[in-house]
Point group: C2
Chain length 391, copies 2
C-alpha cells in the first residue's frame, strides 16, 4: 500500500513533481509558497514515506547548491482504457510517462468479468516484461456513465451486465492497489490536459468519436461530471427531427447519424456503386469506419462525402456547445480521428459558420495529440490525483 500525503502542502508538492519533473528545493519553495523551513519539514515527511527521493545536486542559482527532488522512480501506475471494441492498458511512472502500452480487441458486451480477465492478463504481461513489480494505483475508463464517487457504471447503454458492477472494488482487490473509475471520455480529456494538446488550458471540450460519441468537459482545470455523472453524454442529442432511428428509442440522435457504427452502415449502403468501398467489401466481406478512412485517403469521392456529411452533423452539435460553453479549445479524438483532416475541416466549417463570432474568434479546433494514449495517460493521471491527495 502506497503512503498518502498527510496534508494539502504535501499533496501540492507531489503533484508539482509529477507535472513539472525533478525540481530544486528552492524552486519548489517558490511554487508552493512555503518558507524554507516549513518546506523542509514537509519534504522530510514525504521522504520518510518513500514517495519523494533526492535526485542529485540541482544547478546552482547563485547560492549553495541544493539537492534536486523527484518522485520515487519505482512508483508504477496502471492506466486502463476500455472502449466498446478494444482495451488499452499502459504502465506509467509517477511522472505519467508511458513505460509500456498494450492494446487488444475486446467486446464490452461480453460483460465485466470477461473483459477484466483480459485486462488483467494484459497487466500481467506488462509486469512480466519487467516494467513493473506491482502497482501503486490504477485508473480505469469505461465507455458509459459512471457514478464517480463509488466507481460503478450506471445504466450504460449497450453494455449488458455492467450496470452497478463494482468495478473499483473488484479491480482494487485483483490489483492490490487503489483504483478510480471514470467515463472514458473524461479520461481522454485528462490525458490531453496532462500531456497533450490541452496542457495549461483551463476550460475546454474534448469530443471523442468512436463506436459512440461523448464529450469531456473541463471547467477551471477540473473535469465536470454533472450531477449524476452523465455530463458530456452528447451522443443522443437530436440532429435531425426526421432522422435515423437510434437504439435508445428516439430518432435523429447524433450517434445514429455519425459514429463508427453509423459510418460502417452508411458505407455498406453506398457499396452497391463501383468504387473503393465496393472493392473493399468484396475483398474482406465487411466494411468498417477504417475502410471509409482508407478509401477517402485514396481519393474515393463517396467515402469523402460520407466523412464530410458526418463531420457536418458533429459540427452542428459542437457549434451549439461552443455557443453554450464558450471554451478556449475543442479537441477531437477517438477511433474515428483516423478520418483525419477531412473530418476536422467539416467540423470547423459548421462551428465557425454557426457559433457566435465572440465564441469562435480565438477558438482552436484540433485533433487529439496523444491519440490512443490519451485515455491511458488520463487514467493514470486520475489515480495519481487520488493517491497524491491527503488521505
Amino acid at each position: 500500500m502506497t503512503a498518502r500525503p498527510a496534508n494539502a502542502h504535501q499533496a501540492h508538492i507531489l503533484r508539482l513533481l509529477r507535472d513539472e519533473g525533478p525540481n530544486s528545493r528552492a524552486q519548489l519553495g517558490e511554487l508552493v509558497d512555503l518558507s524554507r523551513s516549513k518546506l523542509a519539514v514537509e519534504v522530510d515527511r514525504l521522504m520518510e514515506t518513500g514517495l519523494v527521493v533526492n535526485d542529485g545536486l540541482a544547478a546552482s542559482r547563485g547560492g549553495r547548491r541544493s539537492h534536486s527532488l523527484r518522485l520515487a522512480p519505482e512508483l508504477r501506475f496502471l492506466g486502463i482504457d476500455i472502449g466498446a471494441t478494444s482495451a488499452d492498458v499502459a504502465v506509467t511512472n509517477a511522472q505519467l510517462e508511458v513505460l509500456g502500452h498494450l492494446s487488444q480487441s475486446v467486446d464490452v458486451r461480453e460483460g465485466p468479468v470477461a473483459v477484466f480477465e483480459q485486462v488483467l492478463d494484459m497487466a500481467a504481461k506488462l509486469r512480466a516484461a519487467g516494467i513493473a513489480e506491482g502497482f501503486d494505483g490504477a485508473g480505469v475508463g469505461i465507455p458509459g456513465p459512471v457514478r464517480f464517487p463509488e466507481g460503478v457504471p450506471v445504466a450504460p447503454p449497450l453494455m449488458p451486465g455492467w450496470d452497478n458492477f463494482p468495478v473499483r472494488e473488484a479491480l482494487s482487490q485483483d490489483l492490490d492497489c487503489p483504483v478510480m473509475v471514470d467515463n472514458d471520455v473524461n479520461l481522454m480529456a485528462l490525458g490531453e490536459q496532462q500531456a497533450g494538446v490541452a496542457r495549461r488550458v483551463k476550460d475546454f471540450l474534448c469530443v471523442k468519436i468512436g463506436t459512440g460519441i461523448g464529450c469531456g468537459i473541463v471547467v477551471n482545470g477540473e473535469v465536470y461530471r454533472g450531477v449524476t455523472g452523465s455530463a458530456g453524454d452528447i451522443g443522443h442529442i437530436q440532429v435531425d427531427a426526421h432522422g435515423h432511428p437510434c437504439p435508445c428509442g428516439n430518432s435523429g440522435c447524433l450517434e445514429a447519424h455519425f459514429s463508427g457504427a453509423a459510418l460502417a452502415r452508411d458505407a455498406l449502403a453506398e457499396s452497391g456503386h463501383p468504387g473503393q468501398l465496393a472493392d473493399r467489401l468484396a475483398a474482406s466481406g465487411t466494411l468498417t469506419a477504417a475502410d471509409v478512412a482508407a478509401a477517402a485517403a485514396a481519393g474515393d469521392a463517396v467515402a469523402g462525402e460520407l466523412i464530410r456529411e458526418g463531420g457536418s452533423r458533429v459540427g452542428q452539435v459542437i457549434a451549439a456547445l461552443v455557443s453554450f460553453f464558450n471554451p478556449a479549445l475543442v479537441v477531437v479524438g477517438g477511433g474515428v480521428t483516423g478520418l483525419g483532416h477531412g473530418l476536422l475541416a467539416s467540423i470547423r466549417t459548421q462551428v465557425y459558420r454557426r457559433s457566435l463570432p465572440l465564441a469562435t474568434g480565438d477558438l482552436p479546433i484540433v485533433l487529439s495529440e496523444l491519440g490512443p494514449q490519451a485515455g491511458v495517460v488520463g487514467a493514470a493521471r486520475l489515480i495519481t490525483d487520488r493517491v497524491f491527495s491527503p488521505a
Copy 2:
C-alpha cells in the same frame, strides 16, 4: 468609500452574515472554522471598519450569552437590470433584502448614455424616497455579452453604441461607489441562487426568455462565463435547418423561432383568423407576447398552440443542454414566463422525452421564483461578492 475586508476570513464572515442573517459569535466560529480568539480578532477588525455591528444578545446555548453580530443596517446596494425594452432598479440592504424597486420602459437601442440617464433618475427617486442616502456598491446587468473583468459590453447584437462603452467606469463615477457589470442572464441565475428557487443548488441552468434568449450557467456554485464572456449565449443555436432567417445572418436560430419578438410576429401572422388575437389586434393596433399569453389564458386555441410550439423549440435546445451539462435544476424565467405553465409543460415534454433518463431522473424544471426581482437581487449579490472580498 466602503471599507473592504482585509483577508479571506473576514470576507467569509461578511458573506455568512449576508446569506444567513445575524448570527452569534459562537455559531460564526463554527461556520468559519476559527478558534474563539482568532474569530474575536477578525470580528473586532470588521467592527472597526463599520461593516459589522452588534445586534443585541443572542439566545443562550448553555453558556454565557454572547452578542449577536450583523452587517451594518445602513449599508445600501443598488441592483440594476437592463433588458432590451425595460430597466429595473432596486435598493437592497446588505442581506440583499429589496427595500425599494422601480421598473420602467427603456429602449437599449437608444444607446448607453440615454439609458443610464434614465437608470440614474430611477436611483435618484429611490434615494429621494428616503430608502438610501448613498450607495455602497452597484451591480448592473445588460442584455448582451460582457468582458467581465473590465465591465464592458462586447459586440452586443442589437445594442448600437454599447460596444466597448465603459459601463463600469462611467457608473462608478456617477454613483460614487464600486460597480460590477455582467450579462443579465448571469444575474438572474445569481438572484435565484441567492433568494429564489436555486438556493443551495450548486450546478444548474437558468434559461431567460425575453426579447432574446440566454442561459446562465452555474458550476459548483459559481457563474461560469466562458473564455470570452459569451457562455450561455444559446439564442443562436440552430433549431431548424430550413428555419426562419435571423438578424444574426444565419437562419433557423432559436431566437428567430421563439422569443418575445418571434412570438409577436407569429401572433400577427395568425391574427387574420377570427379569435382573441384578431380582437386584441383590432383593439390596440399591435400584438405582443403579453397578448398571446392573455389570449391563451382565456382559452384561445391558436395562442395556446403558438406557446406550445415555441416551448417545444426551447425544450429541444434545453434537452441538448441537459444531456451535455447534466444539471441538478433548470430554471425558466424572463418576460415570456408570463406564458406560464403551458410553456413549462411544453418544455418539460421535450426534455423528458429527448434527454437521457440518467440526466432527467431527478431533474426539476421550474419557473423562476423571483420573477422580475431575480435580476436586481442578482446584481446586488454580484457587487456584494466584490465588496465583501479582500481588497
